[in-house]
């Protein structure tokens, strides 16, 4: 279900279709994300959730349609988008050879802020342990601790943020997402799990899936 664009939308996507390795994943996707809004992208494995997120951060260039950030189109507005972007992907961006504290400081956090963030993700006492010695869930929490830093950027794009988290972690993260929305931040994330957030919009990529065979034949004539 497309979301109607509003005038103060930060991110607008119009009639977007994405390809990966030459195969069209979805087409005709339109949505808008304003300040204080959250959007959950759903879809089966391989539906193109990650590709969509990577397209929106400018890391995958194979798309048709229009993406606007602050009213100006890609790729001109990409640098502005990246200035206010916090992206956490499948690869969490946590260096195994550094401690959680050093990782957060590398992301530009002050020492005190970083310690407070680590405490909030339940890693108190682990701040000086090397990340290679942490469990998968714990090292995922190190990445998510970036969301608890006071100077977190306004646009969050999160790929499967709830993966590998325990029940307490999921509820803590939902709380932090609500806090971010209340500070008029915006969140775009993928998840297979239901997330309890007030005013959460949902998009199911299955509704925009492309009939692959028809597209392939058409594509062969069009580009061959």
């Amino acid at each position: 279900m497309p979301v109607t664009p509003e005038s103060q939308d930060l991110l607008q996507v119009r009639d977007l279709s994405c390809r990966r390795d030459g195969r069209r994943l979805f087409a005709g996707l339109s949505f808008a994300l304003g300040a204080g809004a959250a959007l959950q992208i759903e879809g089966a494995n391989g539906a193109g959730k990650t590709t969509l997120l990577r397209t929106l951060i400018g890391s995958a260039g194979d798309f048709d349609g229009r993406i606007l950030w602050g009213g100006s189109p890609f790729p001109q507005s990409l640098p502005q988008l990246r200035e206010s972007l916090l992206f956490i992907g499948h690869r969490a961006g946590v260096r195994a050879g550094l401690t959680p504290l050093e990782n957060l400081v590398w992301y530009g956090a002050g020492r005190d802020d970083a310690l407070r963030a680590l405490e909030q993700v339940d890693l108190f006492g682990f701040e000086d342990t090397l990340c290679q010695e942490l469990s998968a869930g714990q090292s995922r929490r190190v990445a998510l601790a970036r969301l608890y830093l006071p100077q977190a950027p306004r646009l969050w794009i999160l790929d499967e943020p709830l993966a590998a988290l325990d029940v307490a972690g999921v509820s803590s993260l939902q709380g932090q997402m609500a806090v971010h929305l209340s500070r008029s931040g915006s969140i775009l994330f993928t998840s297979h799990q239901p997330v309890a957030l007030a005013g959460l919009q949902r998009i199911d990529l299955a509704e925009y899936a492309v009939d692959e065979f028809a597209d392939e034949v058409g594509g062969a004539y069009a580009f061959g």
Partner: protein, 239 residues
């Protein structure tokens, strides 16, 4: 003590503290120093092969003296190449490289910092070890200073050039041989002027011209190689 930033609102983009070049260097150095085997292995390789050489070509002092400059240089080149394969690998696999490409600050300095640290832990020790290896291979005394100076300058260029190859192949699972094929031809000018300088010094000629050219190569590599590597990283991460 870091200043306490406002806990309520979301700070504007400009206040995202970007790590400066010094901070980048510090983190890279910290990471490398925690993996000491990665530092020691290329150096051990360098020393071991040079120790084996007399067993292969024979122990005649005159013969060893003749081949010493070339062999030391070629082995320095291989040692650099071997250590370079992993330059960006762990950062690529844990997603740090992706985060770096998304950050608003230029990738150039991140690459330069990584390369500088690579040189500090491979090129610099190689240059420091070279007089010892010269002694093992009966290098004439006139060549020592020049060997050290040329390796000091040349190995920095090798690190920078190799970074381009490492960035191009970072997304491949086993880049070993491909990396060598990409990078080796680019090493040729450094090798020619490096060995040329040492040979000139041994023969009693002035070698400042060769060293000047090595310095010029280094300046060009420092300016251009991080740019090329940054471009290659963007391609590797985007796939």
């Amino acid at each position: 003590m870091p200043s306490v930033e406002s806990l309520s609102g979301i700070a504007p983009a400009a206040s995202r503290a970007a790590p400066g070049f010094g901070a980048l260097l510090k983190v890279e150095l910290l990471l490398v120093l925690r993996k000491r085997a990665d530092i020691a292995n290329p150096l051990l390789f360098f020393v071991t092969v040079l120790a084996l050489l007399p067993l292969g070509v024979g122990p005649e002092p005159e013969l060893l003296a003749r081949v010493a400059p070339g062999i030391i240089w070629v082995m320095a080149l291989l040692a650099t190449l071997l250590s370079q394969e992993s330059l960006f690998r762990s950062d690529f696999e844990d997603g740090t490289l992706e985060q770096v490409t998304l950050s608003p600050q230029p990738l150039y300095f991140a690459v330069l910092a990584k390369t500088a640290v690579h040189w500090l832990v491979t090129g610099l020790p190689l240059a420091l070890l070279s007089p010892l290896l010269g002694l093992m291979l009966n290098l004439p005394a006139a060549g020592y200073l020049c060997l050290f100076a040329s390796l000091l300058l040349g190995s920095a260029s090798l690190s920078l050039i190799g970074a381009v190859g490492a960035a191009l192949t970072v997304a491949l699972r086993r880049p070993g041989l491909l990396l060598a094929l990409i990078v080796m031809p680019l090493y040729v000018p450094v090798l020619i002027f490096g060995t040329g300088a040492v040979q000139a010094a041994i023969d009693g000629y002035a070698y400042s011209a060769q060293l000047a050219i090595l310095a010029a190569l280094l300046a060009a590599a420092a300016a251009l190689a991080p740019l090329a590597a940054a471009g290659a990283i963007r391609i590797s991460v985007d796939n």
